[in-house]
Symmetry: C2
Subunit: 166 residues, 2 copies
DNA sequence: CCCTCCGCGCAATAATATTTCCCGGCCGCG
DNA sequence: CGCGGCCGGGAAATATTATTGCGCGGAGGG
């Protein structure tokens, strides 16, 4: 099972750093119940092993003038791998597209987009996204409000699973 | 215009901390071109003003055993505010639901969910989500792969806008 | 039973954060 | 004009933290 190479202390470290990425190492060590040096060694190991991909400040997008959030459901004409990759590359190059996920089902991709205002988004939609090569259909939905936005791992679920399988 | 209370240095600070939330204050100060103390003062101010909501480690969800990601489109029977709020509260309480956005259009909500495996998700889907009060329809799409996942602000777009309006 | 290895903790050192104080520019008012 | 408050920045001192090296002890294997 993935994650089993990690012991309880490692998982606690990940959970704490997910909750507060700027926690000092001594505070982190105190919370997970070991001393600072081995704690820092574990963190470095977790980083190098790829369990921790990085640390990021959570910036208030709206306050910075990006008041529009949109989910765009995109269908392509060709689902050949080369065409899928080309579309993904375009998404990575569009700054207004913050997430791009390939899906199963009737829609090929879902994009999460941001924009300063509706007209900016509509320009992007009509001149860039819809006009892009191989794009067959685009359906967009404005985000009215956000009730929950906690990307990451539900560590409580993880611990529950591990204790059951033990 | 929102964001205009921030000068160029503040925006640079936000951009740097979004890219690397564990950057030391001296390194941050060096990058934005001021000395450490005023830099730290600015960071504190940005935190208290809500521009910085927090700092989080970006944990590799898949490596930790959550191999399934799903987008769920949910339609409700009643869109009265009280019913919307009740549904949002339920979403906040479900650990497998990581994001919950209210949308315009034919679908009322879109949820981003994670799960250790398909059967866990299907149990959640049938026993919790679909069975929840006021839920009229649920359409789910599995995430096949993720081409881009960079939540946050496209600071290059922001700077371009500000220089144009100047 | 001994040996090796791995991870922890301790102590010392280097780096960093944080506070304090002071300086210079920038208004608004006298 | 000149004055005085007001930010925002820099320098130095202090406290906190990160980091390294080393010795110890337990787990697993010979």
């Amino acid at each position: 099972m993935p994650g089993s190479r990690l012991d309880a202390i490692d998982r606690k470290i990940l959970a704490e750093l997910q909750a507060d990425g700027r926690m000092t190492n001594v505070e982190l060590a105190r919370r997970v119940g070991i001393s600072a040096p081995p704690c820092l060694r574990r963190v470095r190991t977790l980083e190098e092993a790829g369990f921790i991909r990085g640390y990021h400040a959570d910036i208030n997008t709206r306050e910075l003038g990006f008041e529009v959030q949109v989910f765009a459901m995109v269908g392509l004409q060709s689902q050949a791998e080369a065409d899928l990759s080309r579309f993904e590359a375009r998404c990575r190059a569009w700054p207004l597209v913050r997430e791009c996920h390939m899906l199963n089902g009737e829609v090929d991709f879902i994009l999460k987009c941001v924009a300063p205002d509706l007209s900016t988004f509509q320009s992007f939609l009509t001149e860039e996204l819809t006009a892009a090569e191989n794009v067959a259909s685009v359906k967009t939905s404005l985000v009215i409000r956000c009730a929950k936005d906690e990307p990451g791992v539900p560590f409580d679920v993880l611990e529950a699973r591990l204790s059951k399988s033990a």
